[in-house]
């Protein structure tokens, strides 16, 4: 197979699918490229769904990875509004929901994921909105009217972003989090608590260490009973309790799936002609030396680009430091690194201020960092973490020393 005349098929026209198509076209100008998407929109970026698209400050088109006509100009075939239903690995074909099938030389799976459901009675219904796509945002936005009471279940990135947007609309907001601290999967308790206070100062009722014990129709819409026995009378419930990777197609085709489509650092699945990228995957990260499943923009964009290059004959692995961000009440938090453990936190700048950095050290080595309204520091911070050498905490904390100088060592 020559890369130039190859037949590439991408299943999943989301963020990774769009970036993958773009990078495939750049790497293989002559190839035939088809992107199959269950949604009716061209590939788009999801971060605005809980932020600017929800609070009305960004039009839908601005979320598109590329405008619709770009795909035709680039001779990329977009099949939208139709799901792929099966992969025949022997025949190297993909079957679509409309009964048609399409053959591939190499296949890229970018099937993303879906919002994890509350597995309890009342977990589905007209007064519950799970947020994953543009239609969900439209439905949610309609319900965010002044005085409506919104109960957000889960104080992760998406839950807290919805809480912030809902307060902008003048809704009453209650956030219910089972753990003791918000965003506990990704940041230190100190940062979680900082954000809890931010939301409280904007009028939200943030309750941590609180489990939802029942959801019943009644009152204004849903009665939410929590572990201390109190009842929240909500118009609307928005769960933000994580993502389930979209692995069904891969699993049915017999690919190795373990809470995510298993891929190596070259984005290869257990079938040499099938690649995967984005939320659907659990990938091997050479820098961290382990497999991990990420739900992030960076992973969708750059893993897909890496996959496209390898599919077209390249040899470079995907080996970035995990990085994600969130915007809440005008505060930008960025998180880099994915440490399993740390033994020291070093503040650079005061947490009393609106702009500072927190380093996570393990045996003196910076393994992760958070920036609060200081995204400009991310680049030298990445370099510092990549160096993986012990750092003097006093130097890291000293704002009169430039991070770029510290990163150079």
């Amino acid at each position: 197979m020559s890369a130039s005349g190859a037949r590439y098929v991408i299943v999943g026209a989301g963020h990774a699918g769009g970036r993958g198509a773009e990078a495939l076209r750049a790497a293989a100008p002559e190839a035939r490229i088809t992107v199959i998407g269950a949604e009716t929109y061209p590939p788009y970026e999801r971060p605005p769904l809980s932020k600017e698209l929800l609070d009305g400050t960004m039009p839908v088109e601005k979320t598109f990875v590329r405008p619709l006509d770009w795909y035709a100009e680039q001779k990329i075939e977009l099949k939208l509004g139709v799901a792929a239903t099966a992969i025949d690995r022997g025949a190297k074909t993909v079957t679509l929901a409309d009964g048609s099938s399409i053959s591939y030389d190499r296949l890229l799976l970018t099937t993303g994921g879906r919002a994890r459901r509350l597995k309890m009675p009342g977990g589905e219904g007209p007064n519950i909105v799970y947020l994953r796509d543009i239609e969900d945002t439209k439905r949610l936005k309609e319900r965010l009217v002044p005085g409506a009471h919104v109960a957000v279940i889960g104080a992760g990135f998406i839950g807290l972003e919805v809480a912030a947007s809902a307060r902008k609309y003048g809704c009453d907001v209650t956030v219910l989090e089972v753990a003791q601290h918000p965003m506990g999967r990704v940041v230190a308790p100190e940062i979680g608590d900082w954000f809890a206070n931010l939301h409280r100062s904007h009028g939200a009722d943030v309750r941590t260490g609180t489990t939802v014990t029942s959801l019943e129709p009644g009152g204004r819409g849903l009665r939410v009973t929590v572990s201390d026995g109190s009842v929240i009378d909500a118009d609307l419930v928005v769960p933000g309790i994580g993502v389930e990777p979209g692995v069904e197609l891969a699993q049915a085709a017999g690919l190795d799936v373990q809470d995510g489509i298993m891929v190596d650092e070259f984005t290869r699945t257990s079938d040499p002609d099938i690649f995967a990228a984005g939320d659907a995957t659990r990938h091997f990260n050479p820098f961290l030396g382990r497999h991990l499943r990420l739900e992030s923009y960076q992973n969708a964009q750059n893993q897909a680009i890496a996959a496209a290059k390898v599919m077209a004959g390249g040899e470079d692995p995907f080996e970035e430091l995990p990085w994600a961000w969130t915007d809440q009440h005008g505060v930008n938090l960025q998180v880099v690194g994915a440490p399993l453990a740390w033994d020291q936190l070093v503040w650079r700048g005061s947490p009393e201020s609106q702009s500072f950095v927190l380093f996570y050290l393990a045996e003196g080595v910076p393994v992760a960092a958070n920036t609060i309204n200081s995204g400009r520091d991310m680049r030298p911070i990445r370099q510092l973490i990549r160096r993986a050498t012990p750092m003097d905490p006093a130097k890291l904390a000293n704002t009169s020393l430039k991070l770029q100088d510290l990163a150079r060592g």
Binding site: R19, E45, W325, G375, R379
Partner: protein
């Protein structure tokens, strides 16, 4: 049609080597960069979502957006790959005495 004009935006001393400065002129938000003593000017607003590039990271002849790590060439305004959808404007610059002047078409 409004004409292109030279507008003084800052004293040269306000933009030391390796630094940037956000200014406005003729209705444009403009980023000034001092690269090895030479001043360059581009739009200050990232073409991706919304951020000021002068809040970002100036490195070599590129500037990195503080939000999603998109990058631009400071000499030309050229976007350097995802997630940047398009280039940003770059403006002619001259230094008259100690004044940095940029040439812009004022927005009406």
């Amino acid at each position: 049609m409004t004409e292109e004009t030279w507008i003084a935006v800052a004293p040269k001393s306000a933009v030391p080597e390796g630094e940037m400065l956000g200014v406005s002129a003729g209705g444009h938000q403009i980023a000034l960069y001092n690269l090895d003593g030479e001043i360059y000017a581009t739009d200050n607003i990232c073409s991706h979502a919304f951020a000021l590039l002068t809040d970002g990271y100036f490195d070599g002849d590129t500037v990195e957006c503080p939000l999603h790590a998109g990058r631009f060439e400071i000499k030309t305004g050229k976007g350097m790959g995802p997630p940047i959808p398009c280039d940003i404007a770059s403006f002619p610059v001259r230094v008259v005495g100690d004044d940095i002047q940029v040439q812009v078409t004022p927005k009406t």
